[in-house]
Subunit: 323 residues, 2 copies
């Protein structure tokens, strides 16, 4: 065994033991797609599959972090180990994500088994969904029972992450009808549980009514009717109810085979995405000399050629264009 192999083997053992530094370094490695990350994930993989992935989404200002932190603390008090991945729309030049983590970490100082990590939405090579799901795999291998993945917004990449979770919570808050409507509409079908946070604010009944009427439009065939749970996360109200709804859904979904179906769908999507990036990497490395791509792009920008012709040309030259 080479020295590099030994080093990775040690690293993997430390992750299995739940060592926080080893976990952190592994997440950084998968985020940056370091040369080690592939070997690492391959070694971690056989020990994964036990953690349940909980996706939590909702608009900015809905109190996601507070809710997630409260839920994580409750789970821990019930004897479960928990990891949190927060997908953070932070900027390289504000450094917000790292600062935020420190503050949240301190709140959980007593709970060394709650691991919190922000994933930057930008700069992740190969896409945020891939990096986040790899990070979840690291936490899974480290023995976490539950991994909470927290996202803002309704971008396709985030919908992807949420769709690949085992259960999805969608947060709403009382507020202007427009916001809630716009947000809910996009994310509606993927919600297994609706969380109505800040439910002590005026307008909570109206929002609940809106969710119910949207739900009534869903096809009857839907196996699970999403529950609506009211919370006031800042006062830890409703978290116990939410936790019970989560365990109810997970039991239902395992029993009906939905859980396994989702997991197969998850892996099918990930195999396709691995194939896609491997194919492109290989093509760029083997068939395109340095600078060729930007030369082609300039030709298209000046309308000397069209992007479809260029694509055909590249595929033909590389022997990838089958009839």
């Amino acid at each position: 065994m080479s020295e590099a192999d030994n080093r990775i083997q040690d690293w993997v053992e430390n992750i299995f033991r739940g060592d926080v530094r080893a976990i952190s370094r592994a997440i950084t490695a998968v985020e940056n797609r370091d040369s080690d990350s592939h070997a690492l994930l391959k070694l971690l993989f056989p020990r994964t599959g036990k953690a349940a992935l909980i996706g939590i989404t909702g608009p900015a200002g809905a109190g996601k972090s507070t809710l997630v932190d409260g839920l994580a603390a409750l789970m821990r008090n019930q004897g479960h180990s928990v990891g949190i991945l927060a997908i953070d729309p932070s900027s390289p030049f504000s450094g917000g994500a790292i600062l935020g983590d420190r503050i949240r970490m301190q709140a959980h100082a007593a709970a060394s088994d709650i691991f919190i990590r922000s994933m930057a939405t930008r700069g992740a090579l190969g896409g945020i969904s891939s990096a986040t799901l790899d990070a979840a795999m690291v936490l899974d291998a480290a023995g976490k029972d539950f991994i909470l993945i927290e996202t803002v917004g309704v971008g396709q990449d985030e919908v992807e992450i949420i769709r690949l979770a085992d259960i999805t919570l969608v947060l709403s808050i009382p507020g202007t009808g427009d916001d809630v409507q716009a947000f809910k509409a996009g994310i509606m079908e993927i919600a297994d549980i609706f969380v109505l946070n800040k439910s002590d604010l005026p307008g909570a009944d109206r929002v609940e009514q809106e969710i119910r009427s949207l739900l009534s439009l869903a096809p009857e065939s839907q196996a699970w009717r999403p529950e609506i749970i009211r919370t006031v996360a800042t006062r830890q109200e409703g978290l116990e109810n939410l936790w019970q709804a989560i365990t109810r859904y997970l039991a239902f979904s395992r029993e009906r085979g939905i859980f396994d179906d989702r997991r197969r769908e998850h892996w099918q999507a990930r195999i396709m995405s691995l194939l896609q990036s491997r194919l492109l990497d290989q093509l760029l490395r083997n068939a395109l000399p340095d600078g060729a791509l930007s030369e082609y792009a300039a030709q298209v920008a000046s309308r000397q050629s069209d992007p479809y012709e260029i694509t055909d040309l590249i595929l033909k030259q590389s022997g990838h264009l089958n009839p």
Copy 2:
């Protein structure tokens, strides 16, 4: 020329003439990746490149639609033709997008040359950014001078669209510091102009100050210092200023070569994405029998194999694994 070719040729001519029905059908075709869409885009392409793409993003409730509609009306009054693409987080079962379009269309009833179309965030084969940019190409070929692309949220796919626009406006509103902060941080670097909408509300000065202090963190080397423009879109206030700032930026960016650089970057990204989907399509069609992928996914889900091994296997079997 075959009958199909004739039909597509007629369609293309109608698009060049700016026929609304032909444009609508073309956008639907690219959204669904109809079999015709490739041939159509190829024929449209030589007439594209003249329209300026304006990306507008901001949180739900910031008044994007009102601002975009007002800006479009102002541009039209100055003799420009305008298209609007609104990326709408709508659900297949709420049907919100279509309804919304009708309402907005009516507001522009007098202005038959403003074309408005919502693009659903989900269900677009091959991703929303690809479908939206193809739709923009249709409008470009139809002779629109400006295409306004309006998006919610901070997902990676939306950032992609905005990044590929010729100019990007980021909307903020006075409100809770957290919201604005979280939103701005993610989108900060891609803003060419900050629009402070609803600037008659209390707290506008504070938000402007926040934006200024975030901007002061930006590297000095940045060629363009983003302007901050205050608007009250519901009363058409500040739109004239905003329009002037847009033309100022476009003149600056053309003069400095930023405009052309962005366009080349745009086409490079799109060629890569075309290559990626062509490669995967080909692999799935030629090298994987029906059901093979879901069988592989099941093996991974049950940990009989790992996703990297499966990917290698598929690439090897299909002759795509070069050493």
